[in-house]
């Protein structure tokens, strides 16, 4: 590599949270950086930048992925859901409400990644067991160590979303 090297530039189209954008990007730019810097959606956080912490989780064409391990140019034509697509102030998604209710966060840095991953999990598996939830969030690190409450919150949201009561609440 020489300092003279330049990345090729590409026009890409992204549909993020239902909104179409056309952006020119350098090939070397990561999807997470384009989401944050070009689209201004800073809810998606950057942690490790090598696919270990899960903070940058977004849904790309229906699959949860680490957006630090996708080049923006690779996402050309894709449909993306970020944390901003889940819910807003005053209209929180049941998962967000459950996180609030269960105190499933302290500093909140990992929360967007946790929520987006959990959102994708519940889409595919509406009634996951505790072990399934734990396995599903194994790629999301919470350095405050709120895992127990996070698992509880996801379980609670699953119960609410699927319209089923927990066994203890069943008549």
């Amino acid at each position: 590599m020489s300092a003279m090297n330049k990345s090729s530039r590409h026009m890409i189209r992204l549909q993020v949270n239902g909104q179409e954008s056309e952006i020119e990007v350098e090939a070397r730019r990561l999807l997470v950086d384009v989401i944050r810097e070009d689209l201004g959606l800073t809810g998606t956080h950057i942690g490790c930048e090598h696919g270990v912490c899960g903070n940058c989780t977004v849904i790309l064409n229906g699959e949860a992925v680490n957006s630090c391990l996708v080049l923006a140019v690779q996402a050309d034509g894709a449909e993306i859901t970020t944390i901003e697509g889940l819910g807003q102030q005053g209209g929180l998604h049941p998962l967000q409400k459950a996180f609030k209710k269960q105190h499933a966060l302290q500093c909140g840095f990992c929360t967007p990644g946790m929520l987006v991953n959990a959102y994708d999990l519940l889409k595919k598996s509406p009634n996951p067991g505790r072990e399934d939830i734990k396995g599903a969030i194994a790629g999301n690190m919470c350095r405050c160590g709120c895992y127990d409450n996070i698992v509880e919150a996801i379980e609670g949201a699953a119960t609410e979303l699927s319209g089923k009561k927990k066994p203890s609440e069943a008549p």
């Binding site: 090939a27 070397r28 699959e63 992925v65 690779q74 599903a136």
Partner: protein, 291 residues
Amino acid sequence: MKPAPFNYFAPESLKEAITLLERNHGTSKIIAGGQSLLPLMNMRLATPETLIDLRNIDGMKQIREVNGFLEIGAMVTHQRIMTSTLVQEKCPLLAEAAGHIAHRQVRNRGTIGGSVAHADPAAEFPTVVTALDADIKIEGPGGEHWLKPAEFFLGFMMTTLQPTDILTALRVPVSPPRCGWSVQELARKENFFAIAGAVCLLQLSQNRVVDVHLGIMGCSPAPLKPLQAEETIRGQELTDDLLAKVADLISEQVEPESDLHGTKAYRRAMAGVVTKRALKEAHHRASEGRQ
């Protein structure tokens, strides 16, 4: 960190991809799912001048059964292999191994071709491919050819893949009926890279092991198929004595390195332990007649 600058191409045919590799000989890299390459590029441990993406090329995303083999395109993701009913039925070892790879975010993007070409000796697919003596399809300027794992894996992240070659598919033998299988890994955290791991496919007939395939991960420069241990087991009943003997053989044969996660001696001992666990579980499943 962020990747160093590079030129990016997403050709629509394999021929075009090979031409790009020839034109950028030795300075280009193929990107499939990017789950191993992009971390290396983000950390600038890899700084290719040209990146050639396989995502727009048709014909590398199928899983099909052909004459006693599963032919799996290089661009099939770990998640698809894990959840494919065809793979679960025809080669349960491969489906189970896929479930041990990293986390769902990574499995959703990482591909079998990328994993095998990356040749990390602690990775699941290179180990299963080695254990089952699967065939690896290579396409380059001179056409296509198939390689056996022993002809492909050279050492730590080193293969015989040439700078103008692309790994396009794998052919994994369909497991015989009434087989047992197991994937055993020792790791600090769920689905992290194994400090030591073993995969096993085993066939029983009247309580005797008629055939066995083993693969050891994370304990040698390349995935290890312990032929001598396999030979020792074939035709025998899987007694505690035999398990102990096999564990010793494995511990002798592996060539581990020491690192933050384990010393050479620890890995050597654990390679034997995970092999025993894998043999026991595979035996249990085979005797239950699960397939």
